[in-house]
């Protein structure tokens, strides 16, 4: 039994990261119907920003780890949001203005991701960065289970972010505007809704959450490298699609579903089979419900 519960805890932590990243994919898709493939790399940039903020306050300014963490959370989120918004301004908006087909925007997103990765490689070198410890690690043991305080923080943050975003999208005016743009982007400006502002707001939300995920990820797995966002970004994207891309609940459920599958398979079968079995199960889900668990069929998807 312990074995099962321990793995549930493991999966909850790992799933929190998938969910936090998948939320970013789903938000942008929900508004622009654009798959922002650079999102995994925005997450990586978030982790690096967190690293620089943390080392700046810890080593240069000389703050205590807890004070650094308090400052690092908002700063990382804001700075990463800036990166996301810059990307939107520089890469996506000009294409949208010219009325380019979504396919070209998706390719641009892919290229932006590669530019972020390789830009980081060129700028900081291939050497890995070690993230400083910001939270005094305590391992709680109860009934044969081990859980660190960090794990608890990660899981609760993911749940809180989900509730917040779900609230923003479904209960606020700006959320209604976001859903409106996805519905009909030609009619919405006629209603007097500033489309560009809403889109920027969407990128702020998505990238901010990627920054938060990057910070928490760097705290949990404190070895940073330029390619760290690529694979987890792809997997989170798949999780978002399985959950039903465009729906906040879908990203959340999809992220945890993928993590439970991965950890569950690795716990029972040889770990070599992990991705094979996990993605076969996801494929079966897609086969039954091509729009994902919470998705509704729309026309003109890519």
């Amino acid at each position: 039994m312990e074995f099962v519960f321990q793995n549930i805890l493991n999966a909850l932590q790992w799933g929190s990261f998938y969910a936090l990243i998948a939320l970013g994919y789903t938000l942008v898709y929900g508004v622009l119907l654009l798959i922002n493939f650079a999102h995994g790399d925005i997450f990586m940039v978030g982790a690096y920003i967190a690293y620089f903020v943390a080392t700046l306050f810890l080593a240069t300014v000389g703050l205590s780890p807890s004070a650094t963490l308090t400052l690092a959370v908002p700063l990382t989120m804001i700075l990463t949001a800036c990166v996301g918004v810059t990307l939107e301004r520089v890469a996506y908006r000009p294409l949208r203005r010219k009325g380019a087909h979504r396919l070209y925007v998706v390719i641009t997103a892919l290229m932006c991701g590669l530019i972020l990765e390789n830009g980081n490689l060129a700028l900081l070198g291939a050497s890995r960065k070690n993230f400083p410890e910001l939270l005094e690690k305590t391992v709680y043991n109860f009934m044969g289970l081990s859980v660190t305080n960090l794990k608890v923080v990660v899981i609760f943050t993911a749940i809180a972010v989900f509730l917040l975003l779900q609230f923003i999208v479904t209960r606020t005016k700006i959320g209604m505007a976001m859903r409106g743009i996805a519905w009909d982007k030609f009619a919405i400006p006629l209603m007097g809704i500033p489309v560009d502002t809403i889109i920027v707001f969407t990128f702020v939300l998505g990238s901010g959450m990627a920054g938060l995920a990057g910070l928490l990820f760097a705290m949990s797995y404190p070895v940073l490298e330029p390619y760290m966002g690529a694979l987890i970004g792809w997997k989170a994207f798949i999780a978002a699609v399985v959950g039903g891309i465009g729906d906040i609940r879908g990203a959340f459920v999809g992220g945890f579903l993928l993590a439970f599958l991965e950890i569950g398979v690795a716990a029972v079968f040889p770990s070599t089979l992990r991705d094979l079995i996990a993605f076969t199960v996801l494929l079966l889900i897609m086969w039954r419900k091509p729009t994902g668990i919470f998705g509704v069929a729309k026309h003109q998807k890519i």
């Binding site: 312990e2 074995f3 321990q6 793995n7 493991n10 999966a11 932590q13 790992w14 490689l121 070198g125 291939a126 050497s127 890995r128 070690n130 690690k137 391992v139 043991n141 081990s146 660190t148 794990k151 797995y221 404190p222 070895v223 490298e225 390619y227 760290m228 694979l231 987890i232 991965e262 950890i263 569950g264 690795a266 716990a267 040889p270 770990s271 070599t272 992990r274 991705d275």
Partner: protein
């Protein structure tokens, strides 16, 4: 006009031909050696250490006027190709060095994952290659053109088995390894076979694999901890070691770890920190407490680059010197690259004993050195301190 056109064409052909001939028959007094090393990718510190050690050696020799072969001095030229720590890039780098740069020998690649495929290419193209760090038997097996400076995993595996059985008083072991890495997989298999031979069937209570890009190992570690082994053997690269050790501690593991030579990077302790203190791993040399030539090398490297050289740096130094020894033993340098490569290979194969800074080595028929291994302990201040030496 027609005649003029033909004449000019002829002139052009003559000029081109002359250039071509000049390019071929130019009396060269430099010797080109290629390096196929991971300057980026998963283990950039390994590539950096190799490059630094090679640069130091090159400066030593070139500042004295060059390498003396048969009474004439030749300047050394080292060409560094990044293999990105990938198997396919290592093959491309080797091809580029052989075909385009026309090197007489290749040092590297370091990891078996790249050295095994690159060795095949070098053997096919009849270019001598020496891998400083690769410990997987397949790198040199049946390849007369491929050599190495490191001991082999069939030797390293038993060293780890015997040491941990004695040091930890262990009866059961668990292994976690990288399934996509020839080195890690090979060593894990050898360890498992050796441990079960010693302690009886089923004494390796957990045998778990992971992928190269994985960052979360909690499922595998939960399984390992559930099997309650006496210690965990991790034949993995230093970047993964840092994550695995930390996550095992997070899950409540308090027992010891045993590592292999891929732990021995200067970057291990910056990534792993206090979690790795007190752990043991088998390696090629111990920097702390070294003497003689080894100490001279360590001090000079430390002064020049600002950190204690890891085993890769020392092995690259030795490997490159073995190549240079081969060039000198050949007694002459011929202009034809292919013939020169053959001369060097034959001379390298004839080296019976070599005194390197990682210990003295004798070479067997496969081109593999017979040399001692050391086990080091990671001290409180992050140094790799000598614990035991095991000789074959």
């Amino acid at each position: 006009m027609k005649i003029f056109g033909r004449l000019s064409l002829l002139a052009l052909a003559l000029v081109l031909g002359a250039l071509f001939l000049a390019g071929c028959s130019k009396e060269s007094d430099t010797i080109k050696i290629g390096f196929d090393i991971p300057l980026t990718g998963d283990i950039p510190k390994v590539g950096e250490a190799s490059k630094f050690a090679a640069e130091m050696l090159k400066e030593d020799i070139n500042s004295k006027g060059g390498l003396e072969v048969g009474g004439k001095k030749y300047k050394l030229q080292f060409i560094y190709q990044d293999n990105e720590s990938k198997a396919d890039s290592a093959v491309n780098a080797a091809l580029k060095l052989i075909e385009q740069d026309g090197v007489v020998a290749i040092v590297g690649p370091n990891s078996s994952k790249q050295a095994v495929p690159a060795g095949g290419i070098c053997n096919e193209r009849e270019t001598p290659m020496i891998s400083p760090w690769s410990t997987n038997p397949d790198t040199t097996k049946g390849r007369p053109w491929v050599f190495r400076a490191a001991f082999l995993d069939p030797f390293q595996g038993p060293v780890a088995v015997n040491f941990s059985a004695k040091q930890f008083g262990a009866k059961t072991a668990a292994v976690i390894f990288d399934i996509a890495n020839d080195y890690s997989k090979g060593l894990a298999d050898i360890f498992k076979a050796e441990w079960e031979k010693k302690m009886g069937a089923g004494s390796v209570v957990a045998f778990e694999s992971h992928g190269t890009k994985d960052q979360d190992f909690s499922a595998q570690l939960t399984k390992i901890l559930g099997a309650k082994p006496d210690f965990i053997f991790i034949p993995d690269n230093y970047n993964q070691v840092a994550l695995i050790v930390k996550q095992a501690h997070d899950l409540g593991w308090k027992g010891p770890f045993m590592g292999s030579d891929a732990w021995g990077s200067a970057e291990l302790m910056t990534l792993c920190g206090k979690d790795c203190v007190g752990q043991f791993f088998s390696t090629h040399y111990a920097a702390a407490g070294a003497q003689g030539d080894t100490k001279v090398f360590i001090d000079r490297y430390n002064q020049k680059y600002g950190y204690i050289p890891d085993d890769v740096a020392a092995l690259t130094w030795d490997a490159t010197r073995i190549v240079l020894q081969g060039i000198q033993d050949a007694g002459k340098v011929v202009a034809d690259v292919k013939a020169e490569r053959k001369l060097i290979r034959d001379a390298m194969a004839n080296i019976k004993e070599f005194k390197g800074i990682t210990g003295s080595m004798k070479f067997d028929a496969e081109g593999d050195p017979i040399k001692c291994a050391v086990v080091v302990r990671i001290s409180e201040d992050g140094q790799f301190v000598f614990a035991e030496s095991v000789c074959p």
